[in-house]
């Protein structure tokens, strides 16, 4: 559990981060979202003391970050940034091994960990281990960057716009990878982005920052249905709201028994996908399948009911 208490950062007379208090539960993905200059990156960088707070403190599992030397603290926290920040003169393997090397892991343990991580990110160790970052595509570089941040099995991982430099298709894949890996490893992730779509897609909880202040902290559904300020409403977008809400709900949640006509969709797809299938093919219901076999269907009426504003 990460407790942020009254955290403030002043640059001269400007409050970059203004008295932020929030608690991040262990094993969740928390996305900090805001416009540029909202203080979201400064907030993240105060967690591993890349920025020192002017006042307030951060406690990780009850221990204040101020009680540890900064470089020791940082070795225990994964850190991934926009543009990957890989060392151009080191191979993929040596890049991933950077933190384990700082922690003086034995050589064979490091080698095994590197291979394990490359496989986790669907990169063949034999093929990629000895390449240099410049030989990789943008998506591969980004995956190695995240693998490096995960190398020492940190309990907490900080990600500063990790997918910002990727094109939309590769970004969507990287986001899926992150969710998959998070489900598998269960570490706590704090991620900064300016992209509300990314926040809704990844987050267990979203923290919205505006002018240094934390204006709302809640689940994606809460943020969409009950925006605390006009700024949050703007970030979510009036037109997009019902569709964003549907994207949060899996088909299985409102599925009913019985068959339906036409092509089926997967049980873990979102209602947004189901709505799209209905509209495109002019159907009022679509069948749902799991593992290749039909298990029920969802109706357009039920989807519509979910998208409706419920005060």
């Amino acid at each position: 559990m990460i407790e942020i208490k009254g955290l403030t950062k002043m640059y001269g007379d400007v409050k970059a981060v203004d008295d932020v208090t929030m608690t991040v539960e262990t094993g969740t993905i928390t996305v900090i979202v805001g416009t540029s200059g909202s203080g979201k990156t400064t907030l993240l960088r105060m967690v591993n003391r890349l920025e020192e707070p002017t006042s307030g403190e951060v406690r990780i599992n009850g221990t204040s970050t101020l009680s540890v030397q900064p470089h020791i603290l940082r070795r225990r926290i994964g850190y991934a940034i926009q543009g990957h920040g890989l060392f151009p003169h080191h191979t993929v393997a040596r890049n991933i091994a950077a933190v384990p090397n700082l922690l003086n892991w034995p050589r064979d343990k490091i080698a095994a960990r590197v291979d394990e991580l490359l496989e986790l990110f669907s990169m063949d160790p034999v093929q990629f281990r000895d390449r240099y970052p410049a030989d990789l595509s943008g998506g591969q570089q980004q995956r190695v960057g995240v693998a490096r941040a995960l190398a020492s099995r940190p309990d907490l991982m900080l990600m500063d716009e990790p997918f910002g430099a990727l094109d939309p298709i590769i970004r969507a894949r990287a986001q899926d990878d992150l969710r998959r890996i998070h489900t598998k490893l269960g570490s706590t992730i704090m991620l900064v982005t300016h992209d509300m779509d990314e926040a809704i897609r990844l987050a267990d909880k979203i923290a919205v920052m505006d002018a240094g202040r934390l204006v709302q902290y809640g689940t994606p559904a809460e943020i969409i249905t009950h925006p605390a300020t006009d700024f949050v409403a703007d970030m979510v977008g009036d037109v997009e709201r019902p569709l964003r809400l549907l994207s949060l709900i899996p088909v299985s949640q409102i599925m009913v028994d019985g068959p339906a006509e036409g092509a089926a969709i997967a049980a873990d797809a979102s209602l947004r996908d189901a709505l799209s299938a209905c509209l495109w093919t002019g159907r009022t219901a679509v069948p749902v399948e799991r593992g290749g076999g039909p298990i029920g269907h969802v109706t357009l009426d039920a989807i519509r009911a979910c998208a409706e504003f419920q005060p």
Binding site: R75, Y79, H84, F87, P88, H89, V99, L102, P133, A134
Partner: protein
């Protein structure tokens, strides 16, 4: 038509070299003088020896110029340059004894304008052809070793010993050897001292902006002091040090001699060393530096593991600048008794003996060229081991 045209395409530089080279054939190739001080009479290439002796050399020179013409045939152009250079040496070897014959005991023969122009043309042709071949670091090292080896063999063989400059050398063999060591000591010693001072200073400046903003203007100012004035300024300063501190004179510190020259060279060398160290350390990509900090590297680990390896090519480029600059500047040390090749240059100036000046100048130029090429190869080697490797 286009194919034939392409086959006959001329290199623009090759045409220029051919025109310059053929023009140089018309000006005096060697001079013969009654003694080492008076001005000599210019002799054109066909007058320096019997036709049967000069013809092979002349043919090689013309053939070399013609081989330099075609475009896209870099090997042929390089062969032309080598053939031309061989022709020039042949002409000197044939011409010197022929001209000296019956000219008197004190007569001197020297290469003249025509020779130097042709030498320049063929060296440029060789450089142009090599640039077209884009040789890798290893091949360049081999070429450099070959060139140095051939030059040493030609000089060692005594084939050129009739030339005036070689006679100046023959009468100063020991002094030349001593000057060589002094010159190398001044150039490389000051480089080592500047590196020993400049690297730590550069690393400090990299971390402390305040120190950098104070240091760099001072070093830039030092660089603007004219070299003669700098060497002159060292005289009173070190004379005072030698006279004031007991034991300083025993270490050889005095107003004139090696010490003030050495100090002046170190001061000149500091700006490139410190400047390139600062620039090199700042050359690592911002994201890589941020990642290094964020993953928990200490400042020392960031320096050794990220900033230094990535900045090494730029830092070594600074050392190359210093080495070439100091080999040249060390000539001025001769003026304040610091030794080195400058001794011959200033003796020659006093005696108006051109060939004695050349005895100081030519080895300096050769040394600077060799050092520059060697350092370039070294920088490229570090670059290929740190840079993005796409091929």
């Amino acid at each position: 038509m286009t194919q034939a045209h392409r086959r006959l395409a001329f290199s623009a530089t090759g045409v220029l070299f051919a025109i310059l080279g053929l023009g140089a054939l018309l000006v005096p190739f060697m001079t013969i003088a009654a003694n080492r001080i008076v001005e000599g009479d210019g002799m054109r290439i066909w007058n320096i020896a019997t036709p049967s002796a000069t013809l092979p050399g002349l043919a090689a020179v013309v053939a070399g110029l013609l081989l330099g013409l075609p475009d896209n045939m870099t090997r042929a152009r390089l062969a032309g340059a080598v053939m031309g250079l061989a022709g020039l040496v042949w002409l000197l070897v044939q011409g010197a004894p022929a001209l000296l014959e019956g000219a008197g005991a004190y007569a001197r023969v020297s290469p003249a304008t025509g020779f130097w122009c042709l030498l320049g043309v063929f060296l440029l042709l060789a450089a142009d052809a090599l640039a077209g071949m884009a040789p890798g670091p290893v091949m360049r090292a081999e070429l450099l070793a070959t060139a140095v080896g051939v030059l040493a063999a030609v000089l060692w063989s005594g084939a050129l010993s009739d030339l005036s400059i070689m006679q100046e050398y023959a009468s100063r063999r020991d002094a030349f050897l001593a000057a060589t060591w002094q010159h190398l000591g001044l150039a490389f010693g000051s480089l080592a001292a500047a590196a020993a001072l400049g690297f730590p200073l550069g690393i400090l400046c990299h971390h402390q902006i305040k120190l950098r903003s104070m240091t760099m203007p001072v070093l830039s100012f030092l660089q603007t002091i004219p070299s003669l004035a700098m060497f002159g300024l060292m005289i009173p300063v070190l004379a005072w040090v030698g006279a004031t501190f007991p034991g300083a004179q025993a270490l050889g510190i005095a107003g004139i001699g090696f010490a003030p020259a050495f100090l002046a060279l170190v001061l000149y060398a500091l700006l490139p060393v410190v400047g390139n160290t600062v620039a090199g350390l700042a050359a690592a990509p911002q994201a890589a530096r941020d990642a290094a900090l964020g993953m928990g590297m200490t400042p020392r680990q960031r320096l050794w593991r990220v900033e230094l390896p990535l900045g090494l090519p730029i830092i070594l480029t600074g050392l190359r600048i210093v080495l070439v600059q100091n080999i040249g500047l060390a000539v001025i040390a001769g003026l304040i008794g610091g030794g080195g090749y400058g001794t011959f240059v200033f003796q020659g100036l006093n005696q108006t003996a051109t060939d004695l000046i050349l005895l100081g100048t030519l080895p300096t130029v050769a040394l600077a060229l060799t050092a520059a090429i060697f350092m370039n190869i070294f920088v490229d080697l570090t670059r290929t081991s740190t840079d993005a490797r796409n091929d």
